[in-house]
Subunit: 312 residues, 2 copies
């Protein structure tokens, strides 16, 4: 099969980025949304993405450090090539269709990318309704960060053509896509999704089997938890912990700057999943208390201007 | 107090480096060794260090990337300044005394740095014998990676002047020093050790309380274990796992290259401390089996020319 028509379900932060990037790379893109209200909220996101792409591309003409890997494999683009990419941006913006109709969205879809809320009930009802309208050929992927494809496969009507394609935020610069099947996913559809990821300038990161947290979060969560534990148990301050990691591993930033980027609310939601977090004498309890205090002060991370560090 | 006379106990990889770096920075250094045989094994290590320092410094005259943080705070040294450091290197090499005598070593020691084998019995008998000879003033630190100062304080005769000062390998370039007291360590001696670390061009990383693994290994061990688990459970190959970490965090290398640097034997010794490692159906058991297979093939890491990756 040759993927041409892509449907993105959901117009949130990631949904709008996935749709925009796919359109930018020449795919016919439709965003399916639950309501007219969602359409109203998605349009300004697409406008903002268009402006980010256009401005960044323009900047690349004079400043090579502005280069984003999602725009092109080639780091050193000519002015003409950059102008072509600006045209692709305008075409992408003009070409994306928005619909609330399952029929319209599903009609000739080669690939549906589900990027709706992380709520199992919403996902199940979406899959069940979608299944009524999808043609036989359609591959269906989920961008879910926290749920496993095996939990939903049976609701899709096409378990063999269902898998996970998981993006990072700001996909035009953080261009990774973790690709993960479940036990019934057929290799040929997995391979199609790998190819699609490459075609939209992502670096495909292939998982051979299901893994909660994929590859990245399987490492990031224990790493960040260990750093949080050192702070919560008052072993060292956050600057010292970051400095230790940076000096020892050559990393550009340490765990507390990563936490500011991830967001303290996300970190808090992860730690409170631990049953021990209810007891303030345990390490998870101390971590939860420490994060909650910062969240209550509005210091939720880089997007709020302050987390563990201040950002101006 | 003003530290001038430094005794390093042990002439192993780290002991010889600590002694050399301290002498390079102008301290009077004596290496205490258990036997004449140890003296014979330590001398070539000091010669090798002298040559590394001299060659690297010479290289810095034409190649700024050769700069090592342990040589000087200043990155951009003049030829004259480099030549001065080369003189310090020769003076260091010529000035280091080696002895097997507790009396000679202890006589006027301001600071004793214990860097003998990671064997509690050897450490205890060393501390007990040393205590008979040390003057009141002497501060005593351990470079132990895996043991806590509180385990040994009572054998030192000076628990208030005893703490940990933990170095990284290749201290002239990896110039971090984790500093960790136990509950009875007095602040003034802790502060003296911090100052000493700075005086030998280390970045002091201050721990406020005892922590097994200090700061670095408290984060590195769970991080590397998580990466090993992904490989051992066949979720992804090691290149994909490294690529994921590098792309997502901007780190220069991923966990499997770090493991090659740490050495697979060390990684194996850590995982087999887990009681589950005996059962091949558990994740620690699978990790142990995977590491053992590589170790048996001689692929123990970068020093062997091959670990997870090949090095030429």
């Amino acid at each position: 099969m040759n993927i041409k028509n892509v449907v993105v379900a959901g117009g949130g932060v990631l949904g709008s980025q996935i749709a925009f990037q796919s359109a930018f790379c020449g795919f016919n893109v439709t965003i399916w949304l639950r309501s007219e209200g969602s359409i109203g909220r998605t349009k300004p996101k697409l406008e903002r993405l268009r402006d980010i792409y256009l401005n960044t591309l323009e900047q690349m003409k004079t400043d090579k450090s502005a280069y984003c890997r999602g725009f092109s494999d080639k780091e050193d683009l000519t002015i003409d090539e950059i102008d072509e990419l600006k045209e692709c941006t305008i075409k992408a913006y003009d070409g994306i269709k928005l619909t609330t109709s399952y029929e319209d969205a599903a009609a000739d879809a080669d690939l549906v990318i589900e990027a709706i809320a992380e709520d199992p009930e919403q996902k199940i009802s979406f899959y069940q309704e979608l299944a009524k309208h999808l043609p036989e050929k359609t591959i269906l992927v989920t961008n879910s960060s926290t749920m496993l494809p095996s939990s939903f496969a049976k609701y899709t009507g096409r378990p063999e053509k269902y898998l996970a394609l998981h993006f990072a935020n700001s996909i035009w610069s953080n261009n990774t896509a973790e690709i993960m099947g479940h036990s019934e996913t057929q290799q040929e559809y997995y391979d199609e999704v790998v190819k699609f990821a490459e075609d939209i300038n992502m670096v495909p990161l292939k998982l051979k089997k299901e893994q909660p947290g994929y590859i990245l979060n399987s490492m990031l969560v224990p790493f960040l938890s260990a750093a949080e534990a050192l702070l919560a148990n008052d072993v060292a301050d956050h600057e010292t912990i970051d400095k230790t990691w940076i000096l020892a591993t050559g990393a550009p930033i340490g765990p507390f700057r990563i936490l500011d980027i991830v967001g303290l609310t996300t970190a808090y939601n992860i730690v409170i999943m631990n049953p021990e977090a209810g007891d303030k004498n345990t390490t998870p309890g101390k971590i939860a208390a420490l994060l909650k205090e910062k969240i209550d002060e509005g210091k939720t991370g880089i997007n709020a201007g302050e987390g563990f560090y201040k950002y101006t």
